[in-house]
Symmetry: C2
Amino acid sequence: MNIRTLCLGILSFQEASGYEIKKEIEEGMFSHFIDASYGSIYPALSQLNAEGLVTVRAEEQTGRPDKKVYSVTEAGRAALAKGLLVVPARDKYKSEFLFEMLFKNMLPEAHVRLAIEKQLNDLREDLSRMVECRAEGQTNEGSEFIMGYGEAVLTAGAKYLESKLAELQPKIKLAAE
Amino acid sequence: MNIRTLCLGILSFQEASGYEIKKEIEEGMFSHFIDASYGSIYPALSQLNAEGLVTVRAEEQTGRPDKKVYSVTEAGRAALAKGLLVVPARDKYKSEFLFEMLFKNMLPEAHVRLAIEKQLNDLREDLSRMVECRAEGQTNEGSEFIMGYGEAVLTAGAKYLESKLAELQPKIKLAAE
DNA sequence: CGAGTATATATCAATTTGGCATATAGCAAA
DNA sequence: TTTGCTATATGCCAAATTGATATATACTCG
């Protein structure tokens, strides 16, 4: 599945500019499991427009470039429906954190602690973003499903790290005194 | 963190060819949270060799290209240690599955079921690969840590999907009769 | 008053992927 | 038996993607 289908999907909920799509990907419901940069979003929108799958409407703004608001067309909705019918590719998960932890015994304990705390923080951020989305949210069956999944996975990760951090804690307190 | 550090890390456990590194990434301990293709591994190894961070030894083979076995040098181990000291980048997780599920109500139920079953299967594969690695494994503190994390996260995901599948099941039996 | 953040689009070098080419051999199914 | 699949092994390359930067303005916070 490519970024074009991704944009169609987001636009199918609400018309948006490239900037807003990026924001949605970073802070919205999608943030946990989707990534895309401006360098891929803007060309994708141009292409979709050229193919007639979306339309553009320029909204004038003072002091800023015109906001280009994109909306899906009927053809776009059809393309989305078709694009969603492919068997999804296997999940891709990249974690520098876990790679680093593999070399735990080579690393200073302070660094290990910091890395774990950062990771825990990231997980909690993701979780609270989900809670927010649910609160505001125009939730549907689909969003309930994915947020349930995200919550399950993130909570499990956080719980594991908390227990590991607790094992580390006592040593530090002694070292600090 | 770049692929060069990744290769150094894998080679620090055992000397290997590019092919074997790729296999390790696909099937080994790393498979859950690392991804890299030949197109990035081979250039990385050449570069590491040029920088004196690894050495190469050609192993002759009948019917196949010579196997180029790479080993880390002392400079390589130092570079790895240094490379591991950076604050790890935030995890990246991409899931076409979750994106598709967001549009659950647009999709035929059979497709939804298939997608969930595939996802569940993927998670179980990852889990059993981990169990294998542990069984064979030259395990250390680091590998125990990351496999514990992986197990926690994957198990939570699988559990969630199992419960969702159970909710779906009855309707199907009726439909099949 | 300067630094940082936010809005908004766009480009581009560098990296990375995913597929292909090349070559050989074993194994299973049609 | 021959066709296709899998495995071993390296490598290239077009296409996709990232991450940083450019451009421009306005608001907020110390």
